[in-house]
Amino acid sequence: MTDIGRSGAVSRPVEADKPPGLLYNIFVRNITAKIAASPMVAIVLIVFIGCTLWSVWFSFTDSRSLPNGDFVGWAQYERLFSARRWKISATNLLTYGIFSLVFTMVVGFLLAVLMDQKLRFEDGFRTIFLYPFALSGIVTGLVWQWIMNPTLGLQSTIRGLGWTSFTFDWITNTDMVLYALLIAGTWHGTGFVMVLMLAGLRSIDGEIWKAARVDGIPTWRTYLQIVLPMMRGVIVTTLVIVGSGIVRTYDLVVALTNGGPGLSSEVPAKYVINYMFTAGNLGQALAASTVMLLAVFVILIPWMIIEFGPKKAH
């Protein structure tokens, strides 16, 4: 250690006898690894952190279509929080997010459990359930828009078959449109959750199943009280992936309802895009995106503390 310290400190003769300093640790130790990692570090610093800070800074300006406005303090945020459309968007996302998270996780897990019963044609079923995930949000939205459109889709088909009072107009109904969105979203995301959960189930040691059977524990209790807790890692990963997918919900809404009827299915990401590109109000759009970023942090930080915080001694 001291040898390396000496050789590294040749240029700093004054400190030659001291233990390696902070600067030495940052710049010289493991120099090859640091050089190799520097492009990645630069990208993270410039693209992710730099651009994020840039966005946050310009949310405090009155920039219109170009980022050249003057500093206006909290004015953009005041306008944002008094905008009805923003309130509607945020409430919608919260409702949609909670339902969507619960549905995809529960249904995904149940499907994975069914798949786990040594089914015949399991591969085939797995492909069928995973297939929706291979479609983009736009395609999913468009397909469900046609299915749920009262004048073209399911409603008119069933009425055509003779059941004339049948009504399925969620997509044009301001109170129900979020649930229409939920149907499409769940259909799209469940297969992916199922596959992750299935991988988690398969990683459980067979010996545990044998032990549970010997002890005479019913299968459902084994799943609920033994297997599920053991799958904690998979479940947390799935939650983070599904959760971040929900916050950035955009393409599905654009294709399915385009925010309508009226503003009843607007989401925050759409507010950002609209005000950035259609309305040419960069300051307002960036204020909205900053609030979205804070919302993500509110979810992520407790999780990071739990996952990566100081580990308890085993």
């Binding site: 279509s65 009262p150 107009d169 044009t172 301001t174 259609t278």
Partner: protein
């Protein structure tokens, strides 16, 4: 040998003579729907008749998708002979960079400003006092389209103005006709502006959109506009909303819906279906209440072609620029497109009833109101659209709240 020389000389003479006359010119545009492509085909036909060749490059994605493609081609040094392009900031950038041909000499030579119905149309094309684009039509939202078939069903004459139309709604409902056919999404956004200018009157329209006078929003005149808007909201059943404006056109022609306020391009759909105004449908510019309507147009730009381009190609550009505004092309194009011609001195025998009504309006000295899009910033426009969408979808949204929200937006408008 001698024979060969003669043949070669003849061939060369022929080639040069045709070359002097004709050239291929690539024209990009985003007119891809049924009525639109029929309209642009008229320009192509007339251009080909001059001996030149129109090389058609239709781009998908309309103004938002195709416009960036066009701009990047011009910037990238691969300019087309002529192109449809959105007027505005992007076009200004190209003009500043010297990539767009200056049409001022041609405009002066041909006296464009003398025969254009409204010289204000050139405002969007003018930069530093020079003209860089050719407006080819005037589009307006201010039309009430009525289905004659629907009124036959209820045994009433086709309304002559907005008030008569509103009065006919209960009878239409009873007969199972949709009173107001509406397409989902953006089709709604144009309607409040129409009501403002036509029910409220041009003065109110200018006070609110130009002077941004919030007191005008709180006035009784504006309340009438808001009430008309609320009445329209209440007569539309959300379950009857159809996906595209073309579907509304079909509803009107079939007599399933009685009326619609929509931009004049819907007439292109009527034309494709072979319908004639006065027979299958009727049109009321300014909702039959006013003779001043709001309008703006599509425009063609002519990029500066690279050094060494043959003179005949440059001449073909000039020929096309002259042709776009010629009487014959204006009638042929706008009849198919459904829009108003930019000149009023055209041959009226070929125009249909709706175009004749439009020309009467254009001939009056102050016929055209400046469009809301040029008076309000797109930020203000977006806030108004948000408000209108919410108001229209929520039948419990009161007129008073609407007026207050509207006034707040106008107060902070720019």
């Amino acid at each position: 040998m001698k024979k060969f020389t003669v043949v070669a000389a003849m061939a060369a003479a022929m080639m040069s003579s045709t070359a002097a006359m004709a050239a291929e010119l690539e024209v990009t545009h985003w007119w891809t729907s049924g009525g639109e492509s029929a309209a642009v085909a008229e320009f192509a036909r007339l251009f080909n008749e001059t001996g030149n060749t129109w090389v058609d490059s239709a781009l998908a994605g309309s103004g938002t998708g195709a416009n960036p493609v066009i701009i990047s081609r011009i910037l990238g040094g691969d300019p087309m002979g002529a192109t449809q392009m959105n007027t505005g900031r992007d076009a200004e950038g190209l003009i500043q960079a010297g990539l767009i041909r200056d049409l001022t000499p041609l405009a002066e030579e041909e006296g464009w400003k003398d025969f254009y119905a409204d010289p204000g149309l050139f405002d969007a094309c003018t930069y530093d006092g020079k003209i860089y684009c050719v407006p080819v039509n005037i589009h307006s939202w201010h039309w009430l389209w009525l289905s004659t078939g629907a009124y036959e069903k209820i045994g009433q004459p086709v309304p002559k103005d907005w008030n008569e139309y509103v009065a006919s709604w209960p009878a239409l409902r009873e007969a199972g006709v949709v009173p107001f056919g509406l397409a989902a999404g953006w089709a709604l956004n144009g309607i409040p502006g129409v009501l403002l200018a036509d029910v409220g009157g041009p003065d109110l329209y200018m006070k609110i959109n130009k002077d941004h006078d919030a007191e005008a929003v709180r006035s009784p005149e504006f309340r009438k506009v808001a009430e008309a808007w609320a009445a329209l909201r209440d007569v539309v059943d959300p379950a009857e909303v159809v996906p595209q404006f073309g579907d509304v056109a079909n509803q009107l022609l079939a007599g399933e819906a009685a009326g619609n306020i929509h931009g004049d391009w819907i007439q292109g759909e009527f034309a494709v279906a072979g319908a004639t105004p006065g027979v299958e449908y009727d049109c009321l510019p300014g909702l039959g209440l006013t003779d001043r309507i709001e309008g703006g147009g599509d425009a063609f730009y002519f990029p500066v072609l690279p050094e060494g381009t043959a003179q005949d190609v440059l001449d073909a550009q000039t020929t096309l620029a002259k042709l776009l505004v010629s009487k014959e092309a204006q009638v042929a194009f706008n009849l198919k497109k459904g829009s108003m011609p930019i000149r009023t001195d055209i041959d009226l025998s070929t125009a249909n009833d709706c175009m004749k009504k439009a020309i009467t309006i254009l001939e009056s000295p102050e016929g055209l109101l400046p469009s809301g899009e040029t008076l309000n910033s797109s930020d203000t426009q977006q806030q108004l659209d948000d408000l209108n969408q919410e108001f229209f979808a929520d039948k419990s949204y009161s007129v008073d709240d609407y007026i207050e929200e509207y006034a707040a937006i106008i107060e902070s408008a720019d």
